[in-house]
């Protein structure tokens, strides 16, 4: 008996292979000193496919592919169980496809030097995250979370686009290195930097746009791990680093980053201490951890730039390991919250040790890479002043407390009797062990990681950012601050009974009056507006057309009245024009006839009659191409109308025909039609009765037609001169077919 839920391994294997190959080649290029690819693709607009693997690109590219490979390997084991639990028989291809898209767009984003390119990859990460967060499409919560993530990050991405256009207008190029070279402090740079900062902060889930990230937990766990450590959320901080040379020019934006970063550390840390659901603790932890990075960028200075880059590496390894742990625990035991877990140390000692190392890394204990992330952080804060140093210690204490609570809640204490012996399999444990090994390795041999951090820091700061990370067995300030943070964290844990009600109150206040509430009500209001407009339009089409016709008629009348006398001239009609005039007369007759039929079928036929007589007029007006197309399109329309009528119950058509227009206002309608018709005719007559000598673009196109090896101007225009327009138009046609297929046939084209 074959298992109906058996999924193919091919998509997983392909995406893992791609990630490993990407990691290896990025590493090789980085070690060789970087590389550049630069193709022009729309030279007229100054757009280039310009990628460069500088230090910053290397850091984020290596994270996206390296952590990507481990997460994909984990997902290869995780996904079949997940699909079985959701009673889905397929899904591996879209899942790994979206993950791969995510990875590729992260690498593209990290290496893009052209701002339009950067924006495209930025939006691609949002699209990929939408597909992945909403992967469990049967669950309303997933769909809502995916939409929220897409709206918060997608709408803020528009700000990034505005900033890009501002910069391009000011400096005349889309190339970021050139803009950085030319940029001087000023209003434009400040505004652009602020807009970029908002876009980056929204993506990095910083207060007050943080609310989408905890909801995004609805995604399958490997997605969360990837989203939080190396992709989506990291992209926000990446954007800030990429634009740092511009952000650095504006003191106000730096101060704003500082405030928002500290607020995020506080909000994320406090809420992480109150949450019970495993993945929510980690989600708020991510908000807080990226708050560190934003704070460091806001501190300014070389030390801070290095510290921020190094922090991202350390956090990515530790956080992805912790997420994968949460997923492994949930899949093995079914427990999703700290209240349901405990005592898993006995059943899964290896997982406990590995995630313990990762947690220690986040809590900055010695012998892990995390120690150095905090050492650099403390040094940067000290450089700025005592107040910031104190804030840094409090932040580190919060981190220590919530991560200790998380790990202890899973692995220590009495086991839950419901699943005392449950233990995740090796497929879910090994990736965590590999990441933990990385965390440990960074704690012992820090120099490769530090070099990468220095390269990234230098690329984002615009000048070398040398730094030192080492163990010193003395009482220097950084060591004392670390000890104070551990002690503070332990104290927080020991006194949890004292502050827990207050922290819960903060959490509840956020739920009741926080930005998430604003988002929900804003979305509902937008929906209401859309419903109202839709209702108005669909209920009575005449009401929609009426304002357009009235405005067109009135404006033309005003135009004619306002122009000096003598400007409005109508050409004379000669005997040569007789055929055309006759054809137009027939067309007018057909147009007038359209008013009378009540039966739908007759109406369609009279409208077609009008179309065919217009085609005859085109033919006499020396436009045979247009005439041909007009005849064909009229025929297709008539066919489609007949097909659609045959689908409608006959009773409905008869009733509608007998009822006449809603709110029958025959006289008003007739007056409007006459007004707009008379003035439209006046303009068209004046324009067409005096064929101006061929000038401008049209004359050029006629002249150039032989050069295009064509004898028919229209075809040459469509396929050559304005070929890009045609390309876009046929693409639109294709998208329309896809839309019809989706609406009528669940996406099947044939």
């Amino acid at each position: 008996v074959t298992d109906p839920y058996r999924t193919s391994r091919a998509p997983a294997v392909a995406s893992i292979a791609l990630a490993v190959a990407g990691f290896a080649s990025l590493l090789a290029i980085h070690l060789r000193g970087g590389g550049t690819v630069d193709w022009p693709w729309a030279p007229a607009l100054g757009l280039r496919l310009h990628f460069e693997l500088d230090g910053l690109g290397a850091l984020y590219g290596l994270l996206a592919t390296g952590i990507g490979a481990l997460v994909f390997a984990y997902a290869a084991v995780y996904l079949p169980e997940h699909l079985r639990a959701h009673d889905r028989r397929r899904g591996a291809v879209p899942f790994f496809g979206a993950l791969t898209l995510f990875m590729v767009s992260m690498v593209g984003l990290a290496t893009a030097q052209d701002l339009v390119l950067l924006f495209v990859f930025w939006d691609l990460t949002a699209v990929a995250s939408y597909l992945l967060i909403g992967f469990d499409r049967d669950e309303a919560e997933s769909r809502r979370a995916a939409l929220m993530a897409l709206l918060v990050t997608g709408v803020s991405a528009v700000l990034l686009l505005i900033a890009i256009l501002l910069l391009a207008a000011e400096y005349g190029t889309f190339s970021l290195p050139e803009i950085v070279e030319r940029a001087r402090p000023g209003a434009t740079v400040t505004l652009a930097a602020a807009l970029v900062a908002v876009a980056g902060l929204a993506k990095s889930a910083q207060v007050p746009l943080h609310f989408w990230l905890p909801r995004a937990m609805a995604a399958p766990t490997p997605v969360s791990a990837y989203l939080h450590s190396a992709a989506m959320v990291a992209a926000g901080v990446f954007l800030l680093s990429r634009f740092y040379p511009l952000i650095r020019l504006s003191g106000e934006v730096l101060d704003g980053l500082l405030v928002i970063g500290l607020a995020s550390i506080a909000v994320g840390g406090i809420l992480a201490l109150t949450r019970d659901v495993l993945k929510q603790v980690l989600a708020y932890s991510t908000i807080s951890q990226y708050g560190y990075v934003v704070t460091m960028l806001g501190l300014g200075g070389r030390k801070a730039a290095l510290a921020a880059s190094f922090y991202v590496i350390a956090h990515a390894m530790a956080k992805s390991a912790l997420f994968l742990t949460a997923g492994a625990v949930t899949q093995a035991t079914g427990a999703k919250a700290l209240a349901q877990t405990g005592g898993m140390l006995r059943a899964s000692p290896l997982l406990a040790a590995a995630s313990g190392v990762a947690a220690a890394g986040l809590a900055a204990l010695p012998l892990t890479i995390g120690f150095f992330k905090d050492e650099l952080f403390f040094a940067a804060a000290l450089e700025r002043g005592t107040v910031w140093a104190v804030a840094a210690v409090i932040a580190a204490a919060l981190t220590f407390a919530y991560i200790a609570r998380f790990w202890a809640g899973i692995f220590l204490g009495p086991p839950n009797p419901a699943h005392a012996d449950a233990s995740p399999g090796p497929g879910l444990t090994v990736p965590v062990v590999v990441l933990a090994a990385g965390v440990l390795l960074g704690g012992v041999v820090v120099s490769p990681f530090l070099h990468l951090g220095e390269a990234a820091g230098a690329a984002s700061y615009g000048a070398p950012t040398p730094g030192k990370a080492a163990y010193h067995l003395d009482l220097r300030a950084e060591n004392l601050m670390a000890l104070a943070a551990y002690a503070g964290g332990a104290l927080l844990l020991a006194t949890s009974a004292l502050w827990r009600p207050a922290a819960l109150a903060v959490a509840r206040a956020g739920d009741v009056a926080g930005p998430a509430r604003l988002y929900t009500s804003g979305l509902a209001a937008l929906n209401d507006v859309s419903d109202a407009v839709h209702d108005f339009e669909v209920r009575d089409l005449r009401a929609r057309i009426r304002p357009i016709l009235v405005m067109a008629g009135v404006l033309v009348a005003l135009g004619i009245a306002a122009t000096p006398t003598g400007t409005y001239v109508v050409g004379s009609i000669t005997s040569n024009d007789l055929p055309l005039a006759l054809a137009l007369l027939v067309a007018s007759g057909a147009a007038v006839a359209c008013v009378f039929p009540r039966r739908h079928l007759m109406l369609v036929l009279t409208v077609s009659a009008f179309g065919f007589s217009m085609a005859v007029a085109y033919a006499f007006f020396a436009a045979p191409d247009v005439a041909l197309v007009a005849v064909l399109v009229e025929t297709v329309f008539a066919l489609l109308f007949l097909g659609i009528f045959s689908l409608m119950p006959g009773g409905v058509l008869r009733r509608e025909a007998a009822a006449g227009p809603i709110g029958n206002r025959r006289r008003v309608n007739a007056a409007i039609a006459a007004l707009s018709g008379v003035f439209a005719s006046a303009v068209v007559w004046a324009a067409l009765s005096r064929p101006a000598s061929q000038q401008g673009a049209a004359a050029d196109q006629v002249r150039l037609t032989p050069d295009a090896h064509a004898k028919d101007v229209v075809t040459a225009i469509l396929a050559d001169f304005r070929g890009l327009d045609t390309l876009v138009e046929v693409t639109v046609v294709f998208v329309a077919v896809l839309g019809m297929a989706t609406l009528l046939r669940r996406g099947r084209i044939t």
Partner: protein, 146 residues
């Protein structure tokens, strides 16, 4: 005259081949005379649509291999995109046609071997596929029982 009257069906059967022939002629002569890929696509699509109207979806698809005509839209789009973006690989702007303005063109009768004609062929396929898809979608819907 109802849909399945012998007259309608006979005419439909008779005109299919001439319609496709006209479409091919319009396409081939596109660069020399009136008409282009769009017009040719609609003509061919009308020929096939007439079969659907006269014989119904099931009967038509039993008689003629037209079931997968909508897939031509995909092929057409890919062809048009390929013609547009292959020049980019050679450092030219998109849709830079070959051969260039002053070069000699190979003629096969009235047909000129140009990349612009390939582009037009893409438009033809896309329009043909799209129109047939639209007619088929509507025709295959379940209407009210008389």
């Amino acid at each position: 005259v109802t849909r399945d009257s012998p007259l309608t069906q006979g005419v439909a059967r008779l005109v299919l081949a001439p319609t496709l022939l006209v479409a091919a002629a319009v396409l081939v002569k596109g660069y020399v005379d009136t008409g282009d890929g769009f017009a040719a696509g609609v003509i061919a699509a009308l020929g096939i649509s007439l079969q659907y109207v006269a014989f119904g979806v099931e009967e038509t698809e039993r008689r003629l291999p037209v079931r997968h005509v909508p897939l031509l839209a995909v092929a057409g789009l890919l062809l048009a995109l390929a013609v547009a973006f292959v020049p980019v690989a050679f450092g030219e702007p998109p849709l830079r046609h070959w051969p260039p303005a002053d070069a000699e063109v190979i003629h096969l009768g009235t047909l000129e071997i140009l990349s612009a004609v390939a582009f037009d062929l893409g438009v033809f396929l896309l329009v043909l596929g799209s129109v047939v898809a639209a007619i088929r979608f509507v025709g295959a819907l379940e209407g009210p029982r008389p």
